[in-house]
Symmetry: C2
Subunit: 428 residues, 2 copies
Amino acid sequence: MKPYVEMTKEELQELRKQLHVQYKEFQGKDLRLDMSRGKPSTEQLDISMGMMDVLSSNDDLTCDDGTDCRNYGVLDGIKEAKELLADMMEVAPDHIIIYGNSSLNVMYDTVSRSMTHGVMGSTPWSKLDKVKFLCPVPGYDRHFSITEYFGIEMVNVPMTPTGPDMDMVEELVANDDSIKGIWCVPKYSNPQGISYSDDTVRRFARLKPAAKDFRIYWDNAYTIHHLYDRDQDHLIEILAECKRAGNPDMVYKFASTSKVSFPGSGIATIAASQNNLVDIMKQLKIQTIGHDKVNQLRHVRFFGDIHGMVEHMRKHADIMRPKFEAVNQILERELGGLGIGEWTSPKGGYFISFDSLNGCAKAIVARCKKSGLVMTGAGATYPYGKDPRDNNIRIAPSYPPLSDLILAMELFALCVKIVSIDKILKES
Amino acid sequence: MKPYVEMTKEELQELRKQLHVQYKEFQGKDLRLDMSRGKPSTEQLDISMGMMDVLSSNDDLTCDDGTDCRNYGVLDGIKEAKELLADMMEVAPDHIIIYGNSSLNVMYDTVSRSMTHGVMGSTPWSKLDKVKFLCPVPGYDRHFSITEYFGIEMVNVPMTPTGPDMDMVEELVANDDSIKGIWCVPKYSNPQGISYSDDTVRRFARLKPAAKDFRIYWDNAYTIHHLYDRDQDHLIEILAECKRAGNPDMVYKFASTSKVSFPGSGIATIAASQNNLVDIMKQLKIQTIGHDKVNQLRHVRFFGDIHGMVEHMRKHADIMRPKFEAVNQILERELGGLGIGEWTSPKGGYFISFDSLNGCAKAIVARCKKSGLVMTGAGATYPYGKDPRDNNIRIAPSYPPLSDLILAMELFALCVKIVSIDKILKES
């Protein structure tokens, strides 16, 4: 096929008729496909079921240091869990706190605390006239929801193949002290699957923010979520790099085992400098007596150590890899060379990002929905749900079984074609 | 023995010598006893160990409605858990939200949200010049820590044998719109073990607060934590009573299974009116994707229903009852009639409250500590840690084994005697 823009009006109209016949066929199938969120599949959940067996009534639920995990206490997490997650986070165990089940909750609480109590002694953000966050776009909708909820103004920063546009980031944070943070998913980013280059990470660590309470919100959600055994992205560890650059307190690093063990029943963690951890603990000791240590112990007993966790992630990869490859193959087969869409081919994470012709994303997602395929809402990858070019769509291949996914992507590609033709015809 | 105040100076001095010999004997025993917190004993934790067996890798972790508890979703709790905890809370399932592991965390988040976003559309408290909470005293130190952390001014309200001084509560909330809340532990209160009378609950429900965003923080921590099978305190259900009184939105009710299953690994809940729940959910959907549903299911499978939970609480009672009775017997035997202390005899909960002669509590706790017995810090039962009469001490009998508890209470009584004599002699 030649690019659509090189086709005549008549060719496009004829093609559209054929595509519409195919579309009607899809509608007749009464599909119910959900690709809206980055949810693990049932098959993936099954590989963690051994977690249900590692603690039984015959087991001693005591830590090496004598802590009874069944009782109150230990605010920052049991030693064994800190070691395991510190290895996952690539930091020392004394640089992390273990939380409850959700890193999103930790991020929310971090922003909330900054609103009410400031950051390491700074003015509480709620007392300031204006607070801004930089938001690399496209990005993660739940990040943007947090900052929007707190009335924080979000400033779009374009993503590039090596990470956020660092010229823009450097310029903005250096000259505007109302900019207090930036949302980052530095590895296998949501939704593009981009990993920040070494140069990008180094430039992050060397930022010279006008605001002393500026923090990088480094959501390393996909730190061990590779698709391949060898062909993996590597990310410079940001805490150490910030320390080397003389900015030890500038970053909070977040992660959880949500997509390692069970979403919603995993354990979350923050890694930060001692100064930041002291600041956080001042609040945490008021907020709770402690998190779920039995679940921490369950994770430790199940994974053993970071090697066990990495081996476990290979099982996830074995399930995820064919799905990512299928998406890529179908898009390539159906849309390759047509000039109506581009997409990423990540080596890990949970998402593939699709860029349609400008002004087509909403229409594509709506058309998919009409025939039973729910995609992430168009616009969701931008602050306030506003994609200025209306061209970005997040593809989440994880949840449907492979056979459904193939069907879904064929339908998706078909919708892209139809909507693109409509747009080209309209503008011709 | 006759009351100390009726003894001559010489008699007291002679008695003091004898008591000091006993005290030295205690010091020689090198005791390490901790009665500082309301922690369940190891024996109590053991009775819940069956929880570790109810979910195995052979089990289906799916709810009746098809929800896979292992995956993301269901923000307000699985249906089965809502039914179980609704019965525990004595409300309908659609009036509750299931949270994570800590009701304290829920209370913190509730205050925090009110600071940043107000209550059902009211001005965020952080934008107000002054926010106050009423604090029935003596009360729970962790409640006071939350309000202190947010810079909320705490106003002491004396407890009476039927609950807080309601004349004072009514007067204050009706005339001061900066009063936004009151901390209550209405059943087997912390630390006195007092349950609010029917009249007190009715007066609470009929409050006419000047502030529309005034809320009763009803921490029903010990709702099913009775010591006896029949001789139980009963509390009028506050949500229903507020609704009947035309104040449906005036109360948040909190509880958890921390002292039912495992502290730190239980499930927490809030009960409130639909209006309040809608307000809460607006925030909750930003804060998290959902709480730990596997643990919710674990609780449901273990307890079955409220009857199972109540039967389970009888096992706790069988362990707690002898401890409460021992404390009462030793205090009666050692201090009865001496006029140097009064204490409560609760029918449930986790604490006994001891009132010494004025100005003696700190000295008693300090003297206990010197001989190896750690009590809750004197003053902890008052906002800002300031007990104006320095006479209240919280006794937490749950954690030590009975034999240790007996020793601890004998030592405690001895310290009370010595410190009381010192005070009487000093003032004579």
